[in-house]
Symmetry: C4
């Protein structure tokens, strides 16, 4: 068994898969990156072209809707928009060890460079520990000249945020990509860190739309954000009502 | 020293060991899978044909009844019922690391395919955090068409349970088996998660009997379940009596 | 750098180092095994013949008496008593991972078999969670016929103790030794588990003396045990006096 | 991807890089060693000659001042003072695993010996759990005859301190260096263990200046130490004032 297996379903990197841009949205804080990447895949109708399995993922299967299991894996999607092509890296998991993180990022870059990728966007969340009304989008780059590009699109690129660096694939693809000819921009949507956050995802998508000169409709993400807010509001109201009722005992 | 050593005692896979079905019952929640598989081995009189040792198991020996130690290992049993043959995978341990889980499952599948296995049943428990009067048996499959088969035998196959996926050998044998031509059904007996649970094991065995068209007597498991219930009842009664006695001081 | 390095200082296994017996006393509960093995090395005047370094040991150096550091290592000692030869395995550490435990035990057995060892004694402590007035010595064996030998020498060989098996080198040398032609007896001195325990070590040494037909004087261990008891008694007395003095305030 | 990559920027070990002395100041307690080594690099104007990346480092990137990320790495600096040359090993991280610590230390020694290094100074902090007015500098050596040299320069070399040995690169470079012809002195500045400690770093630098017969100005470290003390004093004062104000409510 190989430590990392990337299985293509027919379309081969370089031959059938040619794309200048890779968009990574693996799980992380608030699942912000995952929400954005999966939303883009749905809206663009991108096609699944490969599955990645690895002994560095958690040793488990996931149960799909029909009771069918599938191995924990990550997936590569491809969208050919005629004049422009995109690759997407999404999935259920990141590595379970430091070594695994590095080796998986290296394998992702192998696929990327084989497909001619020269620019990677890595998407994530930036946990701030409180509910955020207007989530900002932070940016980081792997080459100084990309800073202006990210800022023009609405990202805030600063030294102080995020203070602890960027952990996992979102960081490593930038850090390891540079020496392999892949420039990169990491976008991080501000989020509480406590909930899956489609609102932050919608903010991030707006910045990414500008960067990619795309106009992917964020309304499904916004709708989901509204539903979550209603649900949260309902929870708060229920709580308040039950407190009111308890108080009546004392009236 | 090899990372995984599978030592056969004379009967060789393929030549002497031919079986379409492998039943896995390694340790897990409530030891439900282990109880069922070991019960079947006893009732069918299956024969131990191999031992598996690995640096991925905990680094320890177990002390057997006569003070003799043996290395932590897993074991393969074989039953030739004339027209039908079964392999069993049982033992003391699962891997201590994510990587080890994958590599061991891969080695188990090597043995299985060498023996001509095309169907695996993986057995486990499903912890629900409370005592269960009538334990249900949940099922998961690695190919959609197996769902009906599992349900007809009495298993409940649904998306929502178990929510967190299936961890360890019970999940990986299904997830990794598919691409190697091994179809699979996972059966999980509901159990509290606090105790070894022969009652849940008896429920699981009934479903497995139907699936395999066997009629292995579950009465020893049921008997053990009754003994455990008596013992628990006794504990509860003793507790109650001592509380009553304490109360008399106040009368 | 090799994962495990065993450096001999001139005397080579097989050629200069021939011994039927290996005695292992690596660190463990109450340091009982370590105390016994180091005491034997001192009393017999055994000679250090090899050092073992490994990436599986903790990544640190120890500061010796004169401020000189040395790498965390284990050591092999050799005693040639004329008609009888012994090897000793002692040191500062056991492995930091499950895999490391297995690979180190395998390397120890390589040395042992190269030196002609056919019998290993592994020494350890058995933590019982309370102070023990008369520490018993438990035994475990890797071949049923050794049970009587261990019992005749005063060890208690039973199924129930220790319940959780034997972890680390003391267990693995027995469990892995069998298939390599090395029979083994593990001796475990009862000990609280809270303190280094020379008293338990003295008890263990008496059993080992009988097994090896040696008469190594345990008096230094007994003396150290007495010193520890005096010290503990003093601590208790000091505590009592200070309590008495506190009480006087209330008189 | 290699497990450890050392990238030189043009100057090659042995050919362009020749130095008898390596000074290691990787992160550790109070960042004492890091502060000293980075201060020396600045004061001497040493030049960065190599970067070290490894799967044994934490899987993350650091965000630099301009929002540019760089992979977690360690760095080698070189100073050619005409009659004397120095190498420095500094950086952001130590290994995340025991095995990684050993393998990285081995790689550092490969570079050192390739550059002709025969003496290593490893710098660190020694946490004592309380604020230290006059931080002592403890020393440890990898050859007994170096003890006097360290003591003459003002280091305290004793068996009892630090009790737990020296963990990580500072220890391993000494412990592993000896057998590769690299003698070594480890200097540890006393520090609380709670704060980055430039005061302790200044003390350590004074000892190292003597050992190396250098006169690197410690005033920037001392200045930074004073600033920290002022800041701490201010915090204490603010705290006191706010307590006084709270008390007024009760007057």
């Amino acid at each position: 068994m190989d430590e990392i297996t990337i299985r293509f379903f027919g379309k081969e990197p370089g031959r059938d898969l040619q794309a200048p841009v890779l968009i990574e949205g693996l799980p992380g804080v608030g699942h912000v990156g995952k929400l954005v990447a999966e939303h883009m895949i749905r809206e663009l109708g991108a096609e699944k072209v490969a599955e990645i399995e690895s002994i560095y993922f958690p040793p488990q299967v996931i149960i799909d809707e029909d009771g069918t299991v599938r191995l924990a894996n990550n997936e590569i999607y491809y969208h050919d928009g005629g004049d422009r092509q995109f690759l997407f890296l999404v999935g259920d998991y990141q590595a379970t060890s430091a070594e695994g993180h590095y080796l998986l990022a290296d394998a992702y870059l192998d696929v990327a460079t084989a497909c001619g990728v020269t620019r990677v966007y890595t998407l994530g969340g930036y946990g701030v520990g409180r509910l955020v009304e207007e989530p900002r989008v932070l940016g980081a780059v792997n080459r100084p000249d990309l800073k202006i590009e990210a800022e023009s699109a609405g990202a805030i690129v600063s030294r102080d945020e995020p203070g602890g660096g960027i952990i996992g694939a979102a960081g490593l693809l930038l850090g390891m990509g540079l020496s392999r000819g892949v420039e990169g921009i990491c976008l991080m949507g501000e989020t509480s860190g406590y909930l899956v956050d489609p609102k932050s995802a919608a903010s991030l998508l707006r910045v990414l739309n500008t960067l990619l000169n795309l106009s992917i409709d964020p309304s499904l993400l916004e709708q989901r954000a509204e539903e979550m807010e209603h649900m949260l509001q309902k929870l708060v109201d229920t709580e308040r009502v039950s407190q009111d009722e308890e108080l009546r005992y004392f009236v």
